[in-house]
Symmetry: C2
Subunit: 509 residues, 2 copies
C-alpha cells in the first residue's frame, strides 16, 4: 500500500471515534508543544515544494518533512532504531508515523531531527497532521502506573505493587502498547480462524468460543525488554527504558487455543514447519494490523497451555489488556500474547509483520544493527530465568535488626520452568542466603506464574551501605548471568543478569 | 539390615560369578598394593579385640578397622563425602564398603585414614576381605577411555572422540558406575512393575515389553558432575573429578515408559505428588540395590519421552550401559537413567535410597556439608545449558591462518531445550563469534540430543597465546554463567560456567 494513502486511511479509520476525550488530549498536546521547537519556519533557509521533496525518496537521497521543516536524513538511515520502517516516510511528512509511534516525541529526537534541517516546506503544501483523533479513545489509566511513553501508552507497575499481591490487580498490571488502543465490543466481536493449507475458514463469536471447555491459567506476562534500563549501562540499547516493572501476574480464563484449532480440523500430528499467526485489531501508521506468530507445535502442546482469554482475574479483560479477546502464550515474551485478537491463521510461514520479523530476536553482544541478520536469528518464544529486588529500592535507608535486613521481590522463568531457589547476597557474592518462596502449585514444565520471595538477609558489620544482589535458579537448574556484558544485545532484550540495588544501612542505637 | 551381614551377603551374592577374569584383576590388585601402606601392624600401638572395637559405634566414639589398623574417626564424621553412609561401618572393618566404593582407594584417602590411627586389631580377629570376586565380571573396556576410578569403573570419553561422531560409538560412550557391573541375561530378564496404590504387580519379559509400540530417541546422557574439575578450582568439591568427558550422545530404542505404565493401569490424570522409583540390579555394600526416582508426571508426559531402552545405536545395550534394559530419562542427569533395570514402582514417595535422598540435589555456594538439608533441597531432574571446547585442547599449539583459528566442541541443555546459539571468544569476551551448529531436528521442548559446533575464530594480532571462551544459549534463552564462583556447590554438580582453554598461537611465515 502507498504509505501516504495508508496513513490517510488510518486517520480516516479512526474518524468515527467518540470525541469526548479530546479535551483531555488537547491539554497533553499543549504540554508537549512546550518542548517541541522542531519544524518551525526558518527564514534563512531555502523553500521546497512537496513535489520536489517527494523525489528524494531513495537510500541515496532521503528527505522528510515535519511541520514547516525539511530534513535530509540520508546519513541517519542506517542507525534508525525502527530499521526499514523509516522507508515508509520517504519524501513525505513523518507526522502520521510519529503520531502512532509516539516514542519519537521527545526533546532528544526533535533535536536530532533538527540537526538534519535543510529548508522549509512551502506554505501551500502544509497539511494538518493533528493526532487528536488517534488517541481519543485511549482508556483511563491508574495514576499509580509509571508512564514510560504516553503515545503509545507504555507504563510499569511500581515495584511496591508487584510484591503487594500475588495476582496483580488489573488496574496495576503493566501496560505495553505498540499503537492506539482499539475499541471493540464483546457482543459483536468475531475471531476468524484460517487454515491456509485446507482453505478452511471459520468466524467465531465469543459466545461460540465459550462452548469449548473452560480453561484457567495463572501466568505472569513479561515484556522481553523488562530490565532493559540495566543493560543500557553497558552500552546503549534501543527500546523503551523499562526498569523491572514490565512484568505482572494474573489468572487468565477463556478456552485453550489447542481446542479451537482441533475443532477447526487442524491435524495435531502435522505440525513441522507450521506456525499460528495471531493478528490483533490495532493498526500501525501504514495500515498494517499488529501480528506475530508462534510455532503450531506450541499452540497444540497441551503442556504449553496457550489460551484465548476473555477474562483477567475474574473480570472481563480491560481495554488495555485486549478487550474482548487476547491470546495468552505463557512463558513467552508478552508480545506473543496478541491483544484484541481478530484473526488466527495456521500457515507454513511465520508472521511477516515488522514486529515478528524485525524484532524480538536474539543476537550476541558483537552483533550490530549493520551486521544483524534478523531473518536468520531465532525468534524469542521463551524467556530465561530472572529475578528482581522490589523492596528495598535503590538508595533507600533500611533498618538493620540483629545484623539483618528484610528484602523481597519477584522471580520468574519462561517456558514452563518453575523457580526452585532464589539466593540473595549483601556482600558481593561472598555469602548467599536462600529466600522463602511464594509460588503457584503448577508443576515444572507447566509452571507459568511468577514467584514472590522474601528474605531476612545478614549484612556486613559496621557497613554504612550494602549492594544487594539477587539471582534465581529454575527447575532446569539454569541461573542468571552475573553481569550484562556478555548478554548485551542491540535490542536490549533478555536482560536477566543479577539485579543489584545499593541501600543505606540504618542502625538504631 | 545388619551391616556386616549385608556385606557378607553381598560377597556371597557374587560368589557364583565366572572366575576367568580373576587373573587380570590379581595384577591390578598387586599394583594397588604398592600404593597402600595403610593398615600395617604398628608394634608401638595398643591392640584391640573386634568386640572392644564394635562398642565404639556412635557419633560420640566412632572406630573402624582396615586390615590390622584401628582408627578413631569420630572427628572425621561430619566431613565424610558420602554423608551418613559411613555409619554402616560403625565399629567394623571398612574394607567390604571400600571394595564397592573403590574411589576410596587412593593414596590421599589411605594417608588421611592413617592419620586417625590409634591401634592394631588382634590377629585372631583379622578377616580376609579380598574383593577379587566383586569385580571379576567387569566387562572389557576400550583402552581409549580415560579412567577416573577403576572400581567402580568411571571413565571419560576423550574430547577428540566426542566431536568425531554425532552419535558416540558404544565403546567410546563415557561410563559412570556406582558399583560392580551385574551380569544379566536378556532371555531370562524380567522387569517388575508395581503400582503401590492399587497393589497391582506385573512381571514383564523383554519379549513382552517389545509388544508395545517401538520407540526411538536421540539423546545425550550427561553426568550431573560433568566439568566438576573446573568448579574444584574455586574451592574443593567432593566427587569424581570429571573434566568435560562425562557426556556422550546416542540413539536409544525400546518402548516408552509411558506406554508401559498406561498398560499397567496407571491413571494419567492422577500424578500429583507421585513418583516412579527405578531400581537396578547393581548392589551396594549394604545389600541395597541402586535406585532413584522421577516424578510420575514426567514419566507420563509424552514430550518428556522417557524410554525403557534395550538398544543403543542399533545394538543391544553393552553391559556397561545397562544390558539388557535401561531407563533413559532424557534431559535429566544420567543418574536417573537407571541401568540393569529390574523394578519400576509407582509410589507416593520418592526413592528412599542414599543416591536419591543424599545426592544429586542442588545447594547455593554458602551451603556447607554441615548446613545442607538434603531432604529440603530440590532433586535435580533437569540439566542447565552447557558447552565445552573439545579442540583445540588446553596448551595446544594452534595454527593461525588469515588471523583465524578453528575450534570445535559440544553444547547441550537439559529438559528438552534446543541449543539456539553458541558464541566463542578469543579476547576475553570483547568480541564473540557465532559458531556453526550440527543438530538433531527434534523441536524445542523435546530436543534431547547434544549439539556439535565448529567456529572459525578471529584471534588478536601479534598475541602469542589466547584464552578461548565458549558459551551456549538455549531455546529458553538461558545462557551459561560466566564464572563458577556463584554456582559453586558442595557436590560440584551443575558445573556449567563458560568453558575456557588457553592455547598457543602458531603463525607460519
Amino acid at each position: 500500500m502507498d504509505p501516504p494513502a495508508a496513513a490517510a486511511r488510518y486517520t480516516h479509520q479512526l474518524r468515527d471515534v467518540s470525541r469526548d476525550k479530546l479535551k483531555k488530549n488537547k491539554q497533553e498536546k499543549t504540554d508537549e508543544n512546550k518542548i517541541i521547537e522542531a519544524g518551525e519556519k526558518k527564514p534563512n533557509l531555502p523553500t521546497y515544494s512537496a513535489e520536489e521533496i517527494s523525489k528524494h525518496n531513495t537510500k541515496n537521497s532521503f528527505w522528510v518533512t515535519y511541520r514547516h521543516g525539511v530534513y535530509d536524513v540520508t546519513s541517519f538511515l542506517p542507525s534508525h532504531p525502527g530499521g526499514e520502517q523509516i522507508y515508509n516516510a520517504a519524501g513525505l511528512s513523518i507526522e502520521p508515523f510519529w503520531n502512532v509511534y509516539g516514542m519519537h516525541k521527545t526533546r532528544e529526537v526533535y533535536e536530532l531531527l533538527e540537526s538534519y534541517r535543510i529548508g522549509n516546506l512551502h506554505d501551500d503544501d502544509l497539511v494538518d497532521h493533528s493526532d487528536d483523533e488517534l488517541w481519543a479513545t485511549e482508556p483511563y489509566r491508574d495514576p499509580r502506573l509509571i508512564v514510560k511513553t504516553a503515545k503509545p501508552f507504555n507504563a510499569e507497575i511500581p515495584p511496591e505493587y508487584q510484591i503487594a499481591h500475588f495476582d496483580t490487580p488489573n488496574e496495576l498490571f503493566y501496560v505495553r502498547q505498540h499503537m492506539p488502543v482499539p475499541e471493540l465490543e464483546a457482543g459483536s466481536h468475531r475471531v476468524r480462524v484460517v487454515v491456509e493449507e485446507t482453505g478452511a475458514t471459520r468466524e467465531l463469536s465469543l459466545h461460540q468460543l465459550q462452548r469449548l471447555p473452560a480453561a484457567t491459567l495463572r501466568a505472569a506476562l513479561m515484556c522481553a525488554g523488562n530490565r532493559r534500563s540495566e543493560m543500557h549501562h553497558v552500552k546503549p540499547v534501543k527500546g523503551i527504558s523499562w526498569a523491572g516493572g514490565a512484568i505482572s501476574n494474573a489468572v487468565w480464563s477463556g478456552v485453550y487455543l489447542r481446542d479451537v484449532l482441533l475443532s477447526c480440523g487442524v491435524d495435531p500430528d502435522d505440525t513441522e514447519g507450521k506456525h499460528v499467526i495471531l493478528t490483533g485489531a490495532d493498526i500501525d501508521a501504514t495500515g498494517q494490523k499488529f501480528s506475530t506468530s508462534i510455532p503450531l507445535a506450541t499452540a497444540l502442546d497441551a503442556g504449553a497451555r496457550v489460551l484465548l482469554a476473555t477474562h483477567m482475574n475474574g473480570e472481563p479483560l480491560p481495554p488495555d489488556h485486549g478487550r474482548p479477546l487476547r491470546a495468552i502464550v505463557p512463558g513467552a515474551p508478552a508480545v506473543r500474547s496478541v491483544k484484541w485478537l481478530e484473526c488466527i491463521t495456521v500457515s507454513s510461514e511465520e508472521s511477516s509483520s515488522h514486529w515478528h520479523k524485525k524484532d524480538y530476536r536474539a543476537f550476541n553482544p558483537s552483533t550490530t544493527w549493520e551486521s544483524a541478520e534478523f531473518e536468520r536469528a531465532p525468534p524469542v518464544y521463551s524467556l530465561p530465568v530472572t529475578s528482581a529486588i522490589c523492596a528495598p529500592r535503590h538508595g533507600d535507608a533500611v533498618p538493620v535488626r540483629d545484623g539483618h535486613i528484610e528484602a523481597s521481590g519477584y522471580a520468574y522463568s519462561g517456558g514452563g520452568a518453575r523457580v526452585v531457589r532464589v539466593d540473595v547476597s549483601a556482600d558481593g557474592g561472598r555469602s548467599w542466603t536462600e529466600a522463602r518462596l511464594q509460588q503457584d502449585a503448577a508443576p515444572h514444565r507447566e509452571h507459568y506464574a511468577w514467584t514472590l520471595w522474601t528474605v531476612r538477609l545478614p549484612v556486613p558489620d559496621h557497613a554504612a551501605q550494602a549492594e544487594l544482589w539477587v539471582k534465581a535458579t529454575d527447575g532446569n537448574f539454569n541461573t542468571q548471568p552475573e553481569r550484562f556484558d556478555h548478554i548485551w544485545n542491540i535490542r536490549g532484550i533478555l536482560s536477566n543478569a543479577y539485579h543489584r540495588v545499593t541501600v543505606r544501612l540504618h542502625r538504631s542505637r
